[in-house]
Symmetry: C2
Subunit: 220 residues, 2 copies
DNA sequence: ACCTGAACACCGTTCAAGT
DNA sequence: ACCTGAACACCGTTCAAGT
């Protein structure tokens, strides 16, 4: 107990793990280098010995989240892809800020590329041609990583306000009628159902094209 | 010429129009209230008479871009939706920052809701049930507005670097083989083709479900 | 009615030191 | 080798004035 307790020295892993937890807790927009330093009981500049700058911190945080996704499994390509995407989705739901950060990063990290590479491999191993796999990867887009941005938040409350229904009648009828009662506990909508609906629609489409011997359009 | 030239007074429209142009020119991340004020030859605080804060400025900019999208046309729902989505895509390509800002806004503006309402109306007018329209709107996600985030930029150069190909062989083969030569001028990939591939796959899937009398799953 | 100036509480980051 | 302190050039925004 003589003098201050000797802090265990920082390292990159501790910086990243703390950044992930802190972003989970306070949101990504509130995560600053200064706030993170404070959380670690350190002066802001101490972080720069372990992380080149804030961009590299964000990249490291993304990689930490990706590391939580299950590896590709065995079986028919459709099931392999489906299971992995849902595993990715589970990881991103544990860290709500991650989808936005991934979208925002200008250059993908090696871990993101490795993930995408393994997904392309799953389609190719299933027998899809290079060309079809290329288009399929684009068509999946962010769904490969288990997310797709929502243009309108589920917005909690069951029935829309009267002014809303008057101004946007088509949206209002969707909000009230989109799910049968059994699946809507307390109003709102079943995000997992919506995600799987689109995912399966896409996978069905890919399977159909593949089964029909899809080839690039002749003209160009 | 006696004294300073009298500046014409600011108004909300001029603030928003200048903000849109400035974001086109310098990028959204460089667009600050201070930089915009400078562009208008005015002190930063002058803006706050016409726009409550930066969030409201961004909302106004989004609405300005949405106003460039063609209204819904006449015809079969599939064609109506397809044409409108491609019109939205054209508007968003004119303002590359807009997709990111739309994704980022926590609450949709009235103009965004009106747009979505009209798209829901297009599906409903085509005879799709409320339930199917609900899922269809979710499945379209940001594609309703003509964009879908790319996890990897087309990344210009035709053939991937050798180190890349070694580390990510499945991605490398897609990069080189994804398009036939006629459609790939100078390497890279045809974004419009990819967008329409996914769009048509989804629309085909919706039409198939609708034609087959799709109803919500029995169990819940 | 519209614009200004100074100030506040924040950012990420550089540089030159401390132990 | 690792951490610190002071400083720089930025943010968005409030408040109290100016014309």
């Amino acid at each position: 107990m003589a003098g201050a307790v000797r802090r265990e020295p920082l390292n990159r892993g501790r910086v990243l793990a703390t950044a992930v937890q802190l972003a989970d807790a306070i949101g990504i927009e509130a995560l600053s280098m200064r706030r993170l330093a404070q959380e670690l009981g350190v002066v802001p500049m101490a972080l720069y010995k372990h992380v080149a700058n804030k961009d590299q911190l964000l990249d490291g945080m993304v990689d930490a989240v990706l590391a939580e996704i299950d590896p590709v499994g065995d079986g028919p390509w459709r099931e392999v892809v489906r299971a992995r995407v849902l595993s990715a989705r589970a990881a991103l739901l544990r860290h709500r800020w991650a989808a936005r950060v991934i979208e925002t990063r200008p250059v993908p990290t090696a871990a993101v590329l490795a993930y995408l590479d393994s997904m392309a491999g799953a389609f190719r191993s299933g027998g899809l041609s290079v060309q079809l796999t290329h288009h399929v990867m684009h068509a999946m887009g962010s769904r490969l990583l288990g997310f797709s941005q929502e243009l309108f938040e589920a917005s909690g409350a069951g029935a829309p306000a009267p002014e809303f229904a008057a101004a946007f009648p088509r949206l209002a009828e969707l909000a009230s009628g989109g799910h049968d009662e059994a699946s809507v506990v307390g109003g709102g909508c079943d995000d997992r159902f919506e995600f799987e609906f689109a995912l399966d629609l896409l996978l069905d489409g890919f399977a159909r094209l593949h089964g029909a011997g899809w080839a690039p359009p002749a003209g160009g």
